[in-house]
Symmetry: C2
Subunit: 164 residues, 2 copies
Amino acid sequence: MCVASIEERVDHMDDLPGAIGTSASLVLRLGQAVFSVASLLFMCLDVEFVSYTPFCFLVTIMGLVVPWSLTLAFVDAFSVLVKRPPCRKGTLSIIVIGDWVLSFLSLAASCSTASIANLMLASGGTLCDPKLCSRYQLSSAMAFLSWFLSLASSLFNFWILPSL
Amino acid sequence: MCVASIEERVDHMDDLPGAIGTSASLVLRLGQAVFSVASLLFMCLDVEFVSYTPFCFLVTIMGLVVPWSLTLAFVDAFSVLVKRPPCRKGTLSIIVIGDWVLSFLSLAASCSTASIANLMLASGGTLCDPKLCSRYQLSSAMAFLSWFLSLASSLFNFWILPSL
């Protein structure tokens, strides 16, 4: 069944840029990886972040998003180059669920970090150095952008899931 | 087109409890409304919450979720009683998009509130009364439950959207 309708499915996937196996999806995945790495760098350049739970949460989640996005970027790159999208419904379901869970966790981590960083900044330097707080804010902004791309990926894949 | 395939669509919707027009959807909507009201009550029983942005954000979002969920609960109740689900694809798209936006905003508000409330509780009473902080935590927990139900609704509706 999978092999029989592969041309049809390739056509369908070409109609929906952003679904797995397309070059748009590759761009989305690379964007997620880049923003996650940026978020990790802004957060982890010193070790003071470990005293706050939301910051540790952000680091954990971004540490999960990076390998996940890179793996799927490789899958996309392979599909684009070899012109053969992966065709199992089960695989796509796992990818959609993984994207969903990671996107929700990214959003939660990003919002928690942003609110804590803002509160610390508003406290006027008693809770943290203003420079450090700005870096935490930047880290949360990067996590937010990573969430956005992750959400886009999961939406595109979820959209083609019932038609498989 | 809409009238012609209405029986078929009724069958399809009976197959998927949780999509709009079913009794499961009615239960989900009522649950959302109840948790949102609970979250609002825990947050708003005094006026100290206005000094923190995430708390105001939570109140705004929960204030949007309550009328939205109640309206859709009425639609569901009508559909269940009169046995005729609404059949326009456009309407369903608007409902799905609204659910999505509100569910993401609920999650963001809930996480921000929870992290701020925890930080305030950890500060040992210098930032707020411990009793008040616990109430903020409860409020955020209620908002989290409301998010969960809202997400379930949007998922069920999104799932039937491509088949309409």
